[in-house]
Amino acid sequence: MGTTLAEKVWESHVVRRAEGEPDLLYIDLHLVHEVTSPQAFDGLRLAGRPVRRPDLTIATEDHNVPTTGLGQPIADPVSRTQVETLRRNCEEFGVRLHPMGDASQGIVHVIGPQLGLTQPGMTVVCGDSHTSTHGAFGALAFGIGTSEVEHVLATQTLPLKPFKTMAITVKGQLAPGVTAKDIILAVIAKIGTGGGQGHVLEYRGEAIRALSMEGRMTICNMSIEAGARAGMIAPDETTFAYLKGRPHAPQGADWDAAVENWKSLVTDEDAVFDREVVIDASELSPFVTWGTNPGQGLPLSANVPDPKDFENEQDRVAAERALEYMGLTAGTPLRDIRVDTVFLGSCTNGRIEDLRAAADVLKGRRVADSVRMLVVPGSVQVRLQAEAEGLNEVFTAAGAEWRGAGCSMCLAMNPDKLAPGERSASTSNRNFEGRQGAGGRTHLVSPQVAAATAVTGHLAAPTDLAGEPALVNA
């Protein structure tokens, strides 16, 4: 019997296998940021252990960094201490760091691929659940806790129980205006926030193959929101073309050897998945969330659901609570929901293609007076490229705020946050209670929906703008 992509990558990284014990897996790349690493470095110091492979480790500052007043010290002393702690730790243990102000600084899951450090067939970990992003390259990439961060720093390995595998086949083609974000929100709504538990998801099918690397990263990024440890997409020409020429991509004869190896990273025809889910791309439309977990989503054309319509008791109770928190009434058309803030950014949708898509919608239009829109590039490189393309001017001309790079309002560890009761349309990944600021209310959307929502002031898709004359404030 054949094997799946995930199993192939797993098997090629087994350092030790023993009866009754987890496999010991080698880790090819360890990404580090300031929030989940200080206690791990402390542990090393206490035990007198070095970082085993600083040359397979890279750190950046992302979660705490302000997106305004760039070049100034961080005002919040607790945030500043955390960032300074990372700097001291990287210095002491010889770890490469891209600090604030550095040309390669950015969200950890944006800079890995951008530098060409994320490659097919690798094992990639980070003390961050959205490490699943890197699976877009056919890497086995997953988030870990701080104890595991310490373990990888000390040993470059992790003891792991094998995962189960699940195929998510997205057949057919997406309609115009429907995006990778809509696919993954629909997948999570279908299988639930616990549906992927214990599984590595492999996204397959025509609609997946047609996506750019940015789109594939958006999908793999949110695998964790379906409860999965990782999401993967088999590498192909799109993957190779993205990687070629990047700073840490193989060169010359190494490139050829690498590509030959990468081409073997596909699920065999006769491989069997533990579970299979099929979605028809042609039936998808722009998708938004109405509740307080990423599985509580519906097509934009739908109405806020009535909790009474949920058969499962837990789902009904959760829906009741979500509507109360979100300040929504059952039966309200989702399009009628007005928002105060639009956030474009995050490791889900903060890449150049996401900014281009939103700028396309905003060009010649104005953000509604009642809305503040923040545009936060995923990295300094994304910011510079967007500026080279003039996207920043489109955003600022529309009345949006053009910011520095970081995690920003996705999780509100920096000063960018919602006020209690404030409502956002956000291209990020989590609509949990208080995620974007205590009492804040989040609707997850694609970059295109975010931009259209900014213009109209209520949840909207670009097609809703078609009849509107440009340059008129809606």
Partner: protein, 199 residues
């Protein structure tokens, strides 16, 4: 890591599903660089509501949390486990845990006991009827008991062994240093390195 064999204490019924780690500990508390002192951060937003179950006087001193399905979803923050530990919890019982949270809990000596949802419902009824009911979680026998209820729970064999012994993972792995050296010698030369910095 502190070992865990059996534990008896009172329980808190948390009748909520999808308790994500942003609820267990909001991001604002993650700025600290220590591993302890997170007791004030546990369920910080929910605890502002005087009616929240953790604020009820009869729940003071409880050491077992009984929650709805999909406990610990979302962020990988191990701070969620530290906050539960620091508050005094030794065990979380649920019908389904998020993978990363469960892995983190086993590393930090917090037992995550997975039971069927009907066992969760029974435990909720029992400890709501009498908050003083002692609940016993026996890792050796893999059972949870309260009143006349005795039910098995799931925990993986290896994690159970480590928890019973209180073993440190890194020590265990470093005993395999030869195997790691040997694996490293076979890695393809084109695999990327972060050093030296290339641009």
């Amino acid at each position: 890591m502190r070992a865990f064999t059996t534990h008896t204490g009172t329980a808190v019924p948390l009748r909520r599903s999808n308790v994500d780690t942003d609820q267990i500990i909001p991001a604002v508390y993650l700025k600290r660089v220590t591993r302890t002192g997170f007791e004030d951060a546990l369920f910080a937003a929910w605890r502002q509501d005087p009616g929240f179950v953790l604020n009820q006087p009869e729940r003071a001193g409880a050491t077992i949390l009984v929650a709805g399905p999909d406990f610990g979803t979302g962020s990988s923050r191990e701070h969620a486990v530290w906050a539960l530990n620091d508050y005094g919890f030794r065990v979380v019982i649920s019908s389904r845990f998020a993978d990363i949270f469960r892995g983190n809990s086993l590393k930090a000596g917090l037992l995550t006991a997975q039971v069927d949802q009907d066992v969760v419902e029974r435990l909720w009824e029992i400890v709501e009827a009498d908050p003083a009911t002692p609940v016993t979680v026996d890792l050796v026998e893999r059972t949870v008991s309260a009143g006349d209820l005795v039910a098995p729970f799931d925990v993986d064999d290896y994690g159970r062994w480590r928890l019973l012994e209180g073993l440190d993972d890194i020590d265990l792995t470093l005993r395999q240093a030869d195997a790691i050296d040997s694996f490293e010698s076979t890695r393809p030369s084109w695999k990327p390195r972060t050093l030296p910095v290339l641009s």
